[in-house]
Symmetry: C2
Subunit: 366 residues, 2 copies
């Protein structure tokens, strides 16, 4: 095993894992199904109580006319952008250079839908109102991701969102919310999901991030939008005869966790301050605005891996399963706080960070 694999192994074996809700094992599904009668009927190609009840519940929660359940956000968001482009007969949209569609989807938007993205802002910062105002190409839709995951989960202030929304509406530019982590930002904004979504024409939310379900997504908007979205879902091959494993687990963990995000948020702030107390470590954002942040370390990945492995082995506390290189001198990893955090004894957590700090100090003085 190489150093990265040893780190992953030590993480898996640690008594307490700091981020997340727990391992992605099939008991996540078994637990969601355990209390349900076996005679509950499957959904059938998008019809039936299992799927329609959940879609209605989420439409109400998001304050939209209609919601459509999708197997993935990749599918849902390409389709949202396609619908807005078709409405305007203009195959151009705007989004951030680190947008999921730009970096994680093998260019599905371009290859399947022939939609050209205009990249706003740059890889180091959020899209600001000025970026939208200065945009010199006409687009059918602007996609905003809240929080902007790939830069540590930063967020614009709510007032700026309102201003961007107003600006787009005045110019007939549709606004799509990449709300993969929408639940996670509500405590910072002190707004309901519906209040945030009201600024957007269409909204995608995910059920396997903060909610901790298996997979699956909701795309919500007005009635016509949802109708078109279901046609595109069939075209993409996403209108499965049965989506219930994802729907039932999404519903189960949504009910269990939807009110816990203020707790995760506070815990993330506490955890970030523990990190920021360590030598050569800085979180981004310095003070989290959701349950997530990035940990940046002024050391090469190759030096950090054995250090972290030994911290886990000595303290029983696992901090991350992997560390990524930023460049030859520095590294980072992502942290999302979930149910795991509250289960760690305070003393164990403090011991882990003391040990980490000592080892990093030694590393710095080498």
């Amino acid at each position: 095993m190489n150093a990265a694999q040893l780190l992953a192994e030590a993480y898996k074996k640690s008594s307490y894992q700091v981020p997340g809700h727990g391992p992605r094992q099939i008991q996540v599904l078994q637990q969601a199904l355990a209390e349900l009668e076996g005679t509950v009927e499957s959904d059938l190609y998008g019809k039936g109580a299992v799927i329609e009840d959940f879609e209605n519940k989420l439409a109400a929660y998001l304050g939209k006319e209609k919601a459509v359940f999708f197997p993935s956000g990749t599918m849902a968001q390409q389709i949202a952008l396609r619908i807005w482009c078709d409405r305007k007969s203009l195959k151009k949209v705007a989004y951030h250079p680190l947008c999921h569609l730009e970096i994680h989807e093998e260019d599905g938007l371009k290859v399947l839908h022939q939609i050209e993205p205009i990249l706003l802002a740059d890889k180091t910062r959020l899209i600001r109102l000025e970026d939208v105002q200065r945009m010199d190409t006409e687009v059918a839709c602007l996609l905003l991701e809240l929080p902007q995951r790939e830069i540590g989960g930063e967020l614009p202030e709510f007032d700026e969102l309102v201003a961007i929304s107003r600006y787009c509406r005045e110019r007939g530019v549709k606004l799509q919310l990449d709300g993969a982590r929408l639940f996670e930002v509500l405590p910072y904004y002190q707004k309901s999901a519906a209040e945030v979504c009201a600024l957007f024409d269409s909204v995608y939310v995910s059920f396997y991030k903060g909610i901790g379900g298996l997979a699956g997504a909701i795309l919500a908007g007005d009635e016509d939008f949802a109708k078109e979205a279901t046609v595109w879902k069939r075209r993409h091959g996403g209108d499965l005869i049965s989506l219930y494993p994802y729907i039932l687990s999404a519903d189960y963990y949504f009910e269990r966790r939807k009110d816990r995000f203020p707790v995760y948020f506070e815990q993330a702030r506490g955890l970030a301050s523990l990190y920021n107390g360590c030598s050569g470590v800085k979180t981004r954002p310095a003070v989290p605005v959701s349950n997530m942040f990035h940990v940046h370390l002024a050391f090469p990945k190759e030096q950090l891996e054995p250090v972290f492995t030994s911290v886990y082995e000595e303290t029983g506390v696992g901090l991350t399963h992997a560390i990524r290189a930023v460049d030859e001198q520095s590294s980072y990893y992502e942290v999302s706080v979930g149910d795991n955090y509250g289960k760690i004894p305070k003393a164990a957590l403090q011991q882990a960070f003391r040990t980490l700090d000592e080892k990093l100090q030694r590393l710095a003085s080498r």
Copy 2:
């Protein structure tokens, strides 16, 4: 409730349902998961033992280098055709006018992939060798569906398949197998899956038809083909973080039923002869070549619905949940034999068909 709904209700309430494996309820998944340890790890975006083991098992079973698990056949087949079209820089394929891609997918192939289908044969019959030989347009790929579901599950003889395959290979036309019901035709051909698949360059099989799983499909071919298929799977939004509910249930029911298709086949022949003994009823094919066939009735759907409802209520045996109009004078429905059939007491089944025959005779003499 209207007559069609009353029929569906009576069917649901009947003690014995003749077609299928049983109702599509969540116990199908609960049962598949019941014997598994909760600590089995999820697949992760197409990686991990759960997905790779099943892909390898099916690749071996189908006699192909590599297999890729997909959430749906719709997605798998569009992608197969796209790959072959790209290889030849020719966006034309050939298939039957009642092909799934032509009638059930909202034109995904045309709209997402800009592929033009050439329709071979006509809606009343199979594609024959002559149809392929007479084709005057160059195509990248020919898709054949075995059995041809929408015409009752008819099949070409194996020798004709061999001849079509040879003809296509000589001309550089790729051959894609729509094997949604491949397991179902092996007993008639008296061939292994690998022997049938050897005639094709790429193969799709489904896990919620004869196998009776939840959903999901395998697309198999050579190494390069599979590699490209996984890229397209991500583009379509089908590369979910977790596909295990479909994979584990596919595997469970594949192991349970893969050797039962000769039984279903024999039972389908018996059932068809019971139907053919009824007044005004003919099956297509007259003698089934798989576990499926269509039941054609020389009566209007509106007259049949109350008759069938009363048969179910009087005998406790449910024959079909729905009847479709062919035209104003005649109707049909589809039958697939699965685990249900073997559980019906012979006497009850015979009584049901006697009752049906009597009622249909009365209907004819009205």
